[in-house]
């Protein structure tokens, strides 16, 4: 029997990471994610790992780059302003194909903004954030259990594709306590040894170089095409989403993370009122579940997107379905309170009847 724990999302993501074999953590304190370094600083030494409270987010992402280049499973965590500082390093990790886990317990912005839950950083997380036109894997958990599961999935995907992975959570998912059933990590069979990395005691013959600089004629173009070919494979094979009562739905609600939790209650209430409403919850924000949205188009469904921002993911939904009508309801970062299921229900009602 697996034991059931009652923990915070931040603790769950830390537990999942350690379960996945992460033995190196580098970070800098920031609300609302400080439970992650606090948990890891306590637990990692017991496992023989290394925890460094770095001098900045800039330093921590670069420590992650160094550890990853040496073949280790390693991570950092932060929240919005800190993630901004990490962007150059993330771009270097993407360019030099260094895997690693970055947990972003997003808060509201811009600037110092506020410490409340927000989804203001969808653009930053999904659209690159740093320079150079790369992608990272972006996972959006909507429960404490998923914080645990996605730490593990994040490491596996990141290692498989040599693409950095980000968990995009927010203050609600990070701070709330829920039941968690931790499970033992089993490495997927297809994960290869990291022969590209500086593993082992030293080079046996071949020199290993981890770099993102390509100055030779056509080299960088080829490198970028290689990176984008990997993104295309991920788009093909690694899309994950949750669909609830989509089959007969006339209106499809879409939302991710904490907002999806509220939306789940709202669609249950809508069903009680006899409205045929379903939920399409993207779990991977990159790769984005385009095909699932295209299916709504074929089925003639309308789409209503909820976000805790002024409209970001909705742009990707509209791109995926083009001529289907996509409505949006959001709350600006820093609203101070969360939308209620009734608030969402009212929007569902008015769209459903329109």
């Amino acid at each position: 029997m697996t034991k059931r724990l009652f923990v915070k999302g931040n603790e769950a993501v830390a537990m999942g990471a350690l379960e996945a074999g992460c033995r190196y953590y580098f970070g800098y304190p920031i609300t609302p994610q400080s439970d992650i370094p606090e948990y890891i600083s306590r637990e990692l030494p017991k496992l023989g790992g290394e925890f460094i409270q770095a001098e900045s987010e800039v330093a921590s992402i670069n420590m992650l780059l160094g550890a990853s280049a040496c073949g280790a499973r390693a991570m950092t965590s932060s929240s919005s302003p800190g993630i901004s500082l990490k962007q150059e390093g993330i771009s270097y990790m993407a360019g030099s194909e260094c895997p690693g886990l970055i947990v972003n317990v997003c808060r509201s912005g811009p600037g110092l903004g506020g410490i409340d839950a927000s989804q203001a950083d969808y653009f930053q997380s999904v659209k690159g954030g740093g320079h150079g036109g790369y992608h990272i894997i972006v996972l959006a958990p909507d429960s404490v259990q998923e914080m645990y599961d996605m730490a593990i999935l994040g490491f596996d995907l990141s290692d498989r594709y040599r693409v950095p992975a980000m968990i995009l959570a927010d203050a609600v998912i990070g701070q709330m306590k829920e039941g968690l059933e931790p499970h033992s990590y089993v490495a997927p069979d297809d994960l290869e040894t990291k022969d590209w990395a500086l593993i082992g005691d030293g080079k046996a013959g071949e020199q290993k170089i981890i770099k993102s600089l390509y100055l030779g004629d056509g080299e960088l173009e080829a490198h970028n095409n290689h990176l984008h070919a990997k993104y295309a494979v991920m788009q093909e094979k690694e899309v994950r989403y949750e669909g609830i009562e989509l089959d007969d739905a006339k209106l499809v609600v879409t939302a991710y993370g904490s907002t999806a939790r509220i939306a789940k209650t709202a669609i249950r209430l809508a069903r009680k009122e006899g409205m045929k409403v379903g939920l399409l919850r993207p779990i991977t924000l990159f790769p984005f579940p385009k095909a699932a949205f295209k299916q709504c188009k074929r089925d003639g469904q309308r789409i209503l997107c909820f976000e805790l921002n002024n409209g970001q993911m909705v742009e990707d939904v509209r791109l995926a379905v083009r001529d289907v009508e996509v409505d949006f309801y959001g709350r600006a970062p820093g609203a101070g309170s969360l939308p209620t299921p009734e608030e969402f229900l009212a929007k569902i009602r008015s769209r459903y009847e329109a």
């Binding site: 460094i52 670069n62 160094g66 005691d201 080079k203 290993k208 170089i209």
Partner: protein
């Protein structure tokens, strides 16, 4: 009569048999050689991890036959920290210019040194941003003309040259901090010895080791290789005195 000749000078094993891109008279090449000689001396070529910085020395991996990680501008000490924590038994060094280490990377170098990370840092001070075309560096001398100090560095507005070897010697995590030059045969010998000692400090687990090497940039100084070499002795050494600023390796 024997015609057999004895080889008295050869390329260090740790250096590749390739041409470098350095300008004529640039002392990066000399410094590369001294680092390679130290690596050979300790027989650690296959274990050593080099962390390259952004500047004229970015092609470290092209010249050294060792494993290399390329770091973003200024972040080599942080990248090296991550690498060293994963591989505590592998020698790790960074090789950084003065713009890289003493401007954009000031935070990383100070905190890495302060943590006493077991690594060796080679810091090449040529009083300018070589790679980007000779702009002012934090080490640019008072009055020195660069492409962004066309009237000479005005210390009342642009501040004073940073003396990194002295600054770092004040930190408890630092075991060894030294400044050397490579402008004369005697100085080259001293520099070689200091670099060896900086690797030894790491290998013996004694702490963070820092070697500042005064270097020339004839191209951006607008000087002939010879005149540039002379400037190291006549202008740089008086401002940046050579010597060991900290040696806690005997403790």
């Amino acid at each position: 009569m024997s015609t057999e000749m004895k080889k008295v000078f050869s390329r260090p094993d740790s250096l590749k048999d390739v041409q470098t891109h350095f300008c004529p008279g640039c002392q990066h090449g000399t410094i590369h050689r001294l680092v390679a000689e130290a690596i050979d001396h300790f027989g650690i070529k296959d274990q050593t991890i080099g962390v390259a910085s952004v500047g004229c020395s970015v092609f470290l991996y092209g010249y050294f036959d060792i494993d290399v990680i390329e770091a973003p501008h200024g972040r080599a000490p942080a990248v090296a920290t991550g690498a060293k924590r994963v591989h505590p038994n592998r020698p790790v060094f960074t090789y950084q210019g003065d713009g890289d280490l003493a401007a954009i990377g000031t935070s990383e170098i100070i905190h890495t040194a302060n943590r006493g990370e077991l690594m060796t840092v080679i810091f090449v001070n040529n009083t300018t941003y070589g790679m980007t075309g000779g702009q002012m560096a934090p080490t640019t001398l008072p009055g020195q003309i660069t492409s962004t100090t066309p009237y000479g560095r005005d210390v009342t507005k642009a501040g004073y040259p940073i003396k990194m070897a002295e600054l770092l010697s004040g930190l408890d995590g630092v075991a060894y901090s030294v400044r050397v030059a490579v402008d004369t045969p005697k100085h080259v010998l001293q520099a070689g010895k200091a670099i060896r000692k900086a690797f030894e400090t790491q290998l013996d687990g004694k702490g963070f080791a820092f070697v500042e090497v005064l270097s020339s940039c004839p191209t951006n100084w607008g000087m002939s290789p010879l005149a540039a070499n002379e400037r190291v002795g006549s202008e740089m050494i008086p401002y940046f005195p050579l010597g060991e600023y900290k040696d806690a390796t005997g403790e």
